[in-house]
Amino acid sequence: TQLLEQSPQFLSIQEGENLTVYCNSSSVFSSLQWYRQEPGEGPVLLVTVVTGGEVKKLKRLTFQFGDARKDSSLHITAAQPGDTGLYLCAGGYSGYALNFGKGTSLLVTP
């Protein structure tokens, strides 16, 4: 099992601030996905990145896949209370099921 380390584990910020969370591994992934999970719900996919160096934007969220396809970051601009949740990264190998990190729990206060 390939380990995915996410940091920070917890993050509490004020509305309007920017933040970056990280997902790191010693393994190379064929794809990496970011999910958001709210209490009592299943994870919801935000984005999939597959190419080293790839950058994808989803409104105020910017996702980047590392050049070596071992790490990824999620940057949120001008965070809002609605961004509160658990952000999970999950790495995939071709032909094998996704392996999840423990997640970053984000709290955005008004």
């Binding site: 099992t1 996905q33 299943g42 994870p43 071709s94 099921a97 999840f100 997640g103």
Partner: protein, 114 residues
């Protein structure tokens, strides 16, 4: 929007009892998964299922676990003799295309083994 549905939302059982967790994946999806999440821990892969057979399983998925797609709509996870450490949130997921494509997760079944 189509969604994955899971029943029951909560299941309480005695240690040693059998439980069946039920899932209805999105109708045109071909790949099905079970994951679990113990409180405070990461989402862990249990098993993937495609073309009416298991395509991959983790170390967690031992002989006490089994999956079945008894008809064209349901996908079930059976735990034959539950243990205390089986207490977790169990998520079903489905995907239209190949492994590691966009997974749609259900809301989960919270299993409590007493």
């Amino acid at each position: 929007e189509p969604e994955v549905t899971q029943t029951p939302s909560h299941q309480v059982t005695q240690m040693g009892q059998e439980v069946i967790l039920r899932c209805v994946p999105i109708s045109n999806h071909l790949y099905f998964y079970w994951y679990r999440q113990i409180l405070g821990q990461k989402v862990e892969f249990l098993v993937s299922f495609y073309n009416n057979e298991i395509s991959e399983k983790s170390e967690i998925f031992d002989d006490q676990f089994s999956v079945e797609r008894p008809d064209g709509s349901n996908f079930t996870l059976k735990i034959r003799s539950t243990k205390l450490e089986d207490s977790a949130m169990y998520f079903c997921a489905s995907a239209l295309e190949g492994l590691n494509e966009k997974l749609f997760f259900g809301s989960g079944t919270q299993l409590s083994v007493l």
